[in-house]
């Protein structure tokens, strides 16, 4: 009886089924097909344009002639270009440092609170990150308005001289960085808070028993434990800040007299408004090395985190 049953099963099994090997091969074919839309999107809309922009950067303005490094030579001779380089670096580095510091401090304060209350505060403090930056920058623009600045109204009442927020190049830079910090520090706060929560409470207790004070606990326990997250977050933010477009575009549009342009806005001005696509592409390509370095370190850190886990 058992034999009959077994034989009955065996026949379809032998002829109809895929071998495990074929099964595995079919599995990877299905997997490849499932990933195909992703591959197509990345290839057509990210990889191809990235290389195409290298090609574009080597053409003349009407895109009829190959000029090699001509566009770059042209840029190197222009003062505006060097100003943009300087400003982009200044903006990105200053803003990231301040975002990290503000985020770190705020995260610690929130972490200090009793845990029932934390959610509410965290919710309020993340709002700048949730509002579309273009929209919130409009609010800042209005706060910095030359004739109706609400800040200047307060200053006047406090007896402080008024400030030409966006009219003066130095103040304009300050404003751009300030808005950047405002938009970005909540992200740091959330990341640090998550990292702080993963520091075991026993470590603090052990340190307290060893006689560490509040500052020493942060310095010797929190900072080392959070180092990886701090690095990843800062590098992420460096990329986003360095490539930022919205804030400068809306707040100053590069002015006064190109004093606040960064790579993204200047490239936009040259390519879309000035109709010189190759020159715009050349400018935007200067972002690539910094982004590549940051990406390299992020990847390394993320990998290391993966290994630790």
């Amino acid at each position: 009886m058992a034999d009959v049953v077994a034989r009955d099963i065996r026949i379809p099994a032998r002829s109809g089924q895929l071998s495990l090997h074929k099964f595995a091969r079919r599995k990877s074919t299905i997997a490849f097909l499932m990933a195909l839309p992703l591959i197509a999107i990345i290839a057509c809309l990210v990889i191809y344009p990235a290389f195409y922009s290298i090609h574009l950067a080597s053409l003349n303005k009407s895109m009829t002639k190959f000029v090699g490094f001509g566009n770059f030579e042209f840029l190197f001779r222009r003062n505006t270009f060097w100003m943009v380089v300087e400003q982009s670096l200044l903006f990105a580095i200053t803003a990231v440092i301040f975002k990290a510091v503000v985020g770190f401090i705020v995260a610690h304060f929130v972490h200090n609170l009793p845990s029932q209350g934390q959610r509410k505060w965290r919710g309020m403090l993340l709002i700048p990150w949730v509002i579309p930056p273009a929209m919130s920058t409009l609010a800042w623009l209005w706060l910095f308005d030359p004739s109706y600045s609400a800040f200047n109204w307060v200053f006047t009442h406090l007896g402080i001289p008024q400030v030409a927020w966006l009219g003066n190049p130095y103040w304009a830079r300050f404003c751009v960085i300030l808005v950047n910090i405002w938009v970005g520090s909540p992200f740091f706060m959330i990341m640090y808070l998550a990292a702080l929560k993963s520091v075991p409470e026993q470590l603090h207790e052990a340190a307290a028993i060893d006689g560490a004070n509040w500052f020493q606990k942060i310095w010797y326990i929190n900072l080392p434990m959070m180092r990886n997250i701090i690095q990843i977050t800062a590098l992420f933010s460096l990329i986003v800040t360095f490539a930022n477009f919205d804030i400068v575009k809306i707040l100053t549009n590069g002015g006064p007299v190109d004093q606040t342009h960064v790579f993204a806005t200047w490239a936009f001005t040259l390519a879309i408004w000035g109709n010189d696509i190759p020159l715009g592409a050349s400018v935007s390509l200067f972002m690539a090395p910094i982004l590549a370095i940051a990406a390299f370190f992020i990847l390394r850190n993320v990998r290391r985190r993966g290994n630790e886990a």
């Binding site: 299905i30 609170l113 509002i131 609010a139 990406a295």
Partner: protein, 304 residues
């Protein structure tokens, strides 16, 4: 005798120190609240000021009164905008673009993430890293070549890709798909391997495994990825600014910036109202789904 006094002394010291600990904690708490209030004021000033201005008439805005207070609140800005055809078109364009982008993103990223996290094929590990790296490429590096490519496609085929709102549906996935895929890979990898083996033994094929096990189990991750895709496509400013120009093809952020700012004349009441309405959908989603939002944010940057 000596033992008891020693014990009593120890008890006293213990009690004294105990008191100081709780006092110290209370002081720390006080300063925490103090500084947090300062930071909340800093963080909430712009949105609150947006709201204050949106309730003012143009006359009150240009009067030299306290800008931080509304003396004659009015909803006229809201009524003006919401009955204005143009603004509703922006809103519609934004809504359609975002919904389409979210749908495309989720379909593409869920399938791809499942393939990359669980099935493996030749080059899949490299592809996973590649996905992460493309997520780091900002749109400000890509818009020029894409712009040129679209112009070129128009020259060759006659399909007009520039100055149409729907072209954003093609563009935004460059921003959302890599991140969403990365996020979903993380969520799918955290599902224990035994679960798929159990499903395999139970007789599920790969598609059934995905639809009946992985998707239901990873719902929180899917929600986080959807929120992220929505926020990104709702908020993007650079692509629509570069690719669309006619007033009826604009999406909300660009529409507000370009049409409400006419030359040097700023209709601030309307601009702030528009900005507030433009910020509303992400804020509302955030208010209801904060935990998903935050888990997506922290996981996206750190999950390997």
């Amino acid at each position: 005798m000596t033992m008891t006094t020693a014990a009593a002394a120890a008890g006293q010291i213990g009690r004294a120190r105990y008191g100081s600990i709780s006092r110290g904690r209370r002081r720390a708490l006080f300063w925490s609240y103090f500084f947090l209030i300062l930071f909340v004021i800093f963080f909430l000033t712009p949105p609150v000021y947006m709201f204050i201005t949106s309730l003012k008439s143009s006359a009150e805005i240009s009067a030299a009164t306290n800008p931080w207070w509304v003396y004659h609140p009015t909803l006229s800005n809201y009524i003006d905008l919401l009955t204005q055809n143009q603004f509703l078109i922006f809103f519609r364009n934004s809504a359609i673009v975002s919904i389409c982008v979210v749908s495309i993103t989720m379909v593409v990223s869920i399938f791809a993430a499942f393939a990359l996290a669980r099935m493996r094929f030749w080059g899949s590990a490299t592809l996973a890293t590649g996905v992460f790296l493309t997520y780091l490429i900002p749109e400000s590096l890509l818009f020029i070549p894409l712009f040129k490519t679209f112009a070129y496609i128009h020259d060759k085929t006659g399909i007009e890709l520039i100055n149409h709102w729907w072209v954003l549906i093609i563009l935004y996935p460059t921003l959302t798909v890599p991140f969403a895929t990365w996020l979903m890979i993380g969520y799918f990898s955290s599902i224990p391997k035994e679960l798929d083996e159990a499903a395999l033994i139970d007789g599920a094929g790969y598609i059934q495994m995905l639809t009946r096990i992985f998707i239901p189990v990873a719902i929180p991750g899917i929600i986080a990825a959807m929120i992220f895709s929505f926020t990104v496509s709702w908020a993007n400013f650079l692509y629509p600014l570069a690719f669309t120009t006619s007033a009826d093809q604009l999406v909300l952020p660009v529409g507000i910036v370009t049409t409400l700012i006419r030359g040097d004349v700023y209709a601030w009441g309307q601009i702030m109202t528009g900005a507030l309405l433009g910020a509303a959908p992400p804020l509302i989603i955030y208010a209801f789904l904060m935990d998903y939002y935050i888990s997506g944010l922290t996981a996206g940057a750190t999950k390997g």
